[in-house]
Amino acid sequence: MSYPSYPYGYMYPNEVAVGLTWLPIIATYMLFVSIASGSAILLSLEVLFNIGLRRLTPLLLMLSLATGLVYLLGPLADLRRPERAFYILVYPHLVPSDTYSGVSLIALMAGLMWPLLVILLVVLGYITLYRGMWGSIIAKILALALAFTCILWSTYFALLQFTTIPLLTVHNLTPLIPVELLLESIALAGSIALLALLVHYRSLERPIAGILSQVILACSLAFIAFRIFQVFRLHAYMTGSPEATTFIGVFSTLNTVVLILAVLSSILAAHVNLRGSAISASLLALLSLLWVFVDRWLFAVNIQSISKTSLSVIPVSLDLASWALESTAMTLLALFVYYVLYTWVIREPLLKLEGSGGGVG
């Protein structure tokens, strides 16, 4: 019989036993949340302000629905008792009391917000694409509700981390992390929508690609500025403490990769805006996907591996084979839902929009 030993510094024995509480599939899940929420935000912006993406709206709706309908498979794969997942709907912890203090963000998101989001997306899609009520007050109210819900949705994991992880070093970074998640979501959704546009029309539709690339550029530049500010803040105020040394150890390398990928994405977005080449648009989608995924991995896996003592890093062995299989399954299912939506639901309104010119108006 062997006893647990602590060769890595001060940490609690149960941390050694549990390892990563939230499995790496959570990074993929967060990526799906970003695509779904970012696409829905762009869709609602078009309905609210008519920003010139009307011909893109069916694709945005499909992207949002395809990822938004399958993304809960991520946390389902993470649960240790997945067969009880429906308990969130049966016993949702949404009302605080003496016995059950606080409100569970997980219950709020899975039990309340997710059904609401799907309903809002479907109803908004129906009244705009099928009924053509683009400028109606109902469409605008629905779009406003969708935008608010999706902003919350895109920042959800940061809020969950803020309310659960008891590390002060993480809390010190947290004030800007929700904003960064939102910016990343819009940039990523924009890049994927650009790719969908390219696949659907076989070429980059110039005005739409121009607007999208501007949105991506603005979001990625804002993200870079926020993240650099946070790194500066971390080093300026916390360097020297053992807690900060541990945090910087797990944070810095991947954060540098994230920043490099974000810079490359912004350069490509500028290139797409100026030249509009199909290769740079495809590359932009790939780089944005990589950028956001690495950042999600940084927060879902690396930050979680910091011990609750803040003084050491938990030695974790990642089951990358399971993660790869589960992520591939989620992606394939999302592509299937996208295909089904395209074939049976969206094709008709899409053709109608193409026929009418579908421009700004």
């Binding site: 001060y10 149960n14 549990v18 240790r80 008792r81 009880r84 912890h93 016995t99 606080g102 963000l105």
Partner: protein
């Protein structure tokens, strides 16, 4: 017609208000009557690391190998001395683990115990992430979150928790903090105690005596 219905409305509203106040008051009264507050005092200077508490807890609660409801940390002081610090769930007054639980499987009883209903736990791990003390783990046998219960099955029968009963030096003292005559209350009132990580706002209910700074993380 409209004035009558308005009067009726006022009547109904007033009755509802009175009922709500009465319900809240009765709830507050029952809490005061029920009013026990289980807590523990640990004298670090008396612990010599025999691990009897760890073994007793594992045997009493069928704790699987590799995870712990209570454990004893060994710390080396700057001067070279060694201290042993028993740790476990702190049964916090403001428990951070209860808030994120999506199904209410984790809850706090009227007498201050923080417990897990394994039949309602979905194994999301939010409570494990949220506990600042590393006191929770996934039970490999049930898949549910698990932790110290202050041996609620024993204290209901008027017995002490297994770890307290097993301690050969009486380093652990358990009792009702709201009872001025209890031993734990008298000790906590008399000596200078510390709690772990007070900065988290969890208001833990395990009071340490002679806890060195190095072990307070």
């Amino acid at each position: 017609m409209s004035s009558i219905s308005r009067r009726e409305f006022v009547k109904v509203a007033a009755s509802a208000l009175v009922a709500t106040v009465a319900l809240s008051a009765s709830k507050a009264t029952s809490r005061e009557v029920g009013g026990r507050r289980w807590a523990m005092f640990i004298d670090v200077s008396k612990c010599y690391g025999c691990m009897a508490c760890v073994v007793a807890c594992a045997a009493e609660n069928n704790v699987p190998v590799g995870v712990f409801r209570t454990w004893v940390e060994r710390h080396v002081l700057p001067g070279g001395g060694v201290v042993f610090v028993p740790k476990q769930c702190n049964h916090c007054d403001n428990p951070p683990c209860v808030k994120p639980c999506p199904t209410g499987a984790t809850y706090r009883t009227a007498d201050g115990l923080v417990l897990v209903d394994p039949g309602k736990c979905i194994g999301c791990g939010a409570c494990i992430v949220a506990c600042p003390y590393g006191a929770r783990y996934f039970n490999p046998l049930t898949g549910a979150a698990d932790k110290c219960t202050f041996c609620d099955h024993r204290i209901k029968l008027g017995r002490l928790p297994a770890c307290v009963e097993a301690c050969p030096t009486r380093a652990r003292v358990f009792g009702d903090l709201s009872d001025p005559g209890s031993e734990v209350r008298r000790i906590v009132d008399r000596v200078q105690t510390r709690v772990l990580k007070p900065e988290t706002g969890a208001e833990p209910q395990i009071y340490y005596y002679a806890l060195p700074e190095v072990a307070s993380k």
